[in-house]
Symmetry: C2
Subunit: 177 residues, 2 copies
Amino acid sequence: MRARRANSREKILAAAAAVAREAGPGSLSLEAVASRAGVSKGGLLYNFPTKAKLMQGLVENYLSDFQKALEARAAEAGHESVLSAYIKLSADDCEQPKPSASWMFSAIAEDPDFLTPIKAFKRQLFERLKEETDDLGSLLVCFLAIEGMRSMNLFDSDVLSESERQLLVATLLKIAG
Amino acid sequence: MRARRANSREKILAAAAAVAREAGPGSLSLEAVASRAGVSKGGLLYNFPTKAKLMQGLVENYLSDFQKALEARAAEAGHESVLSAYIKLSADDCEQPKPSASWMFSAIAEDPDFLTPIKAFKRQLFERLKEETDDLGSLLVCFLAIEGMRSMNLFDSDVLSESERQLLVATLLKIAG
DNA sequence: TTGACAAGACCGTCCAGCCGGTACAGTAAG
DNA sequence: CTTACTGTACCGGCTGGACGGTCTTGTCAA
């Protein structure tokens, strides 16, 4: 299990995300990822026997990172609700001009089912948010607005200006109470 | 311009959307589209000399359809605002369980720039909505929530139940005033 | 007959996955 | 200590197949 020089697995995952972000989701080939990770193609295939496994690894990595970040935010003092934590986390995520998850498009092209765990995660998160409020309408609006913000970031959409995004987040936090 | 049997161009566009929707965005090849459209590959390439042109046609077709539908809604009696029309139109669009625009993923994989006209269109729409209200915060929330709803539909996400979506739309219409 | 349009074989390119190698760490017998 | 063996981590050339785009050969309406 231990790697001799470094953890190739993580390097490869990071490289895959970088390639998709910088060269476009259509350019996410095994060779490109291997080269970017400073690993040979054979080495990549050793860690991820198949491209599907690589995609799966990307999804799992993304989800566990997200989970960790959300938990950290929610545990911070001064957060009255998980929803607020989610809003702030998403706002920070969308701060970055470059979409960090373009690899999702590659995954969808490969097989739409790769996103199933992400859908399940979102539903789970939604259920959790439902438990801490009695105003389902407001929650829905907030939840979907965040979804919209994330989606725009994913599509690298500069439809909203910086100040508009800030106003949006402020308004959402007010609604969230 | 006139076609001998039917309008091949539209048939091809529809076939492309159908292939992306049913076989997955990764399966949108020229041969698959041609076959689905009941046209030979040569015939397809006659109408769209290149795959890029086909994608472009898909985008333009989508945008003009959307524009027409929105204008029709906005012109209907009883609509007090374009925002309401946009909300209702989007609600109806998302009624269909199958995402009608999976081809967008193929376009992104081909070249993310294909979506530039869509971004421009959205910005334009947003500017238009801004002019009919003085509550920018509420508009942002509504606009992004719609974006989120559309995004979930696009990703074929069944995160929200039917009744939840209805409540969402009702709440949005209330916010929109 | 002609020319607009369609057919599909064909070519070059690209890529996922395979496979035969290499290097090295740990183990253990002599 | 040394030699032989084993399993892990990684390398990179190869191949078979798929796909985009070209080209030649039809075909049918006027």
